[in-house]
Symmetry: C2
Subunit: 341 residues, 2 copies
């Protein structure tokens, strides 16, 4: 099975599990669920069925592919895959409020349509439903110790997500963030959830502990590569493809890897002088880009992303499974790294 | 044991469990946890140890008292008690943002000190930590089916909380809310969590299903009585005792029981005329109070609260346990109903 075949087979399963998890029969709660369905890309802002880009379902796909690669039954991992995607979407709904981002996947963000109070609650509802969805594991024929292990890892990831988010926000006001601090932040913010995806897939397949560890590391390192690529796109990405305005990360003073690196380099002082201004305007971005160029910040970030991808693929190979079993995951990693180029 | 003795014994245990659940050893996360500790009433806004009113710990107390009344070991129920209190505090941190309430327990709310983005994330962190704390049940010597039952009830309550909160917010813009809709809202918003407290206490004590059901109902009906009393205080409460300005619920157009009742009564049209105004000012409150008085809305709400309390005590008696075992819970219910009079 190649990655295209795997996606054709698994994406509909994932979508079905997500819809089952987010359904309600209570008429009074129709709009509450409608806002969630909007965010997931199933309906428009009047809650009329109208498919829109609701995300790539990357994490649940990683979960099911890891489960299959490790020789498990993907049906068993499906509640975990759905729970992970719902958890991811909870974090996006709250991130958009926290970052004051009015759009998500080319449409208005939940808060921009229904206000911050309802959007906070929509995120909370997704958070609550993610846990309840994971709880379905114990209603299947899964050994109790695997359910327990999956639940514990899920809880730890939820905590890590909020820690990563805290660091990300606290960095905005700082100009002395180190690369080590940056790595700590993205470990919580991005790598933890992608690591959880492959970890739970392998765990629920009944893989031995060592092999679960390799799958976990594969997901985490892939997450780090993914985040650094995202950082690069946030500065040099094509507006038409990324769906957000070019260099928006500069205007928001985001401490992404190229900036963190440049702030610690020979141009640090000049870059700080710009970032210390009370207000950053689009007119400031060319001078920032020139400084980043001077120290080859893009190339530096690119190298770190490639190194992380390399480590991810090493971890995948270390699972000791056959090439055929691992092929879809390897292809997915390659697709991700090549996205939007 | 009377309620004073029970509080003297259990409140320190609860505080200790809460502190263990919300600790961190990571220096970079000190402020992240500091904000949580501030909300819990342990530190001031500079994160210096300074006990302040952090809440009555009513819900964990109900949980431990129900466990003890049902013949269980309170140590076993302690993770559930702590998880419930953390969950409650998650909802308060987000409620304060959603309601635009700048104070909580006589001090600035988290969002008023550290901004909305960090406050959203502090609430999320408490939500995540509540689940992780409940997860400690499976590390104790508790039969697996009890852990599973407790976890499922916890998940359902989290979902119910967000549903109640949705209804509460959606009611603000409406003038046709019925008493039935109001009851549905407070079942989610208040009764679900207090019901969970007594339910889990009895469940973890190993009580038979029927008895757990009576404990559950006791908590739920007590929650309904508690919420209606709160509604009365939100309109006629003494500012010095409630910590929020008198009649603040009127200015915020809160659809609390006295208002919902009056909107459906003979003064409904006149009341709607006031509530339809674009802006409500303190000058409007006397006319609202006169209309509420005309249909005896306060007495109506008071009767419903007393009826709910009566049903709570009937459910408590229906557990079939001895008077001595139930005394602390009965006394706690009486204390609650008499609070701030």
């Amino acid at each position: 099975m190649n990655i295209r075949e795997a996606m054709a087979r698994y994406l509909p399963l994932i979508e079905e599990a997500l819809q089952a998890a987010l359904q309600t029969s209570h008429k009074t709660l129709a709009a509450h669920h409608g806002m969630m369905h909007y965010h997931l890309g199933w309906v428009d802002q009047r809650f009329q069925s109208k498919p829109a880009g609701g995300g790539k379902r990357l994490r649940p796909l990683l979960c099911l592919l890891a489960c299959e690669a490790a020789g498990g039954d993907v049906q068993v991992a499906l509640p975990a895959a759905a729970a992970i995607e719902i958890l991811h979407n909870f974090s996006l709904v709250h991130d958009d409020i926290e970052d004051d981002s009015p759009t998500r996947r080319g449409r208005p963000a939940v808060w921009a349509l229904w206000g911050v109070p309802q959007a906070i609650n929509v995120g909370d509802a997704l958070f609550a439903l993610a846990h309840r969805t994971l709880g379905q594991l114990s209603e299947q024929d899964v050994p109790a110790d695997r359910v327990l292990g999956a639940t514990r890892a899920f809880h730890d990831t939820c905590v890590a997500l909020t820690e990563g988010q805290y660091l990300d926000m606290s960095f905005e006001a700082r100009l002395d963030v180190t690369v080590d601090e940056y790595m700590e932040m993205i470990r919580g913010k991005t790598a933890a959830l992608m690591g959880l995806s492959t970890q739970l897939g392998a765990l629920l397949a009944g893989a031995p502990a060592g092999r679960i560890g390799h799958f976990h590391r594969f997901g985490r390192m892939l997450g780090i590569a993914f985040q650094i690529e995202d950082d690069i796109l946030g500065i040099w990405g094509d507006e038409a493809l990324t769906g957000k305005s070019a260099a928006s990360d500069i205007l928001e003073r985001k401490k992404t890897l190229p900036v963190v690196y440049a702030l610690q380099s020979a141009v640090g002082e000049r870059l700080r002088a710009i970032y210390q201004k009370r207000e950053l305007t689009p007119e400031d971005t060319p001078s920032v880009l020139v400084l980043l160029e001077e120290v080859h910040a893009r190339g530096y970030a690119k190298r770190l992303a490639e190194e992380a991808l390399h480590q991810a693929l090493e971890a995948l190979a270390a699972t000791g499974l056959g090439e055929a079993a691992l092929a879809p995951l390897g292809e997915l990693a390659a697709l991700l790294q090549g996205r939007r180029r």
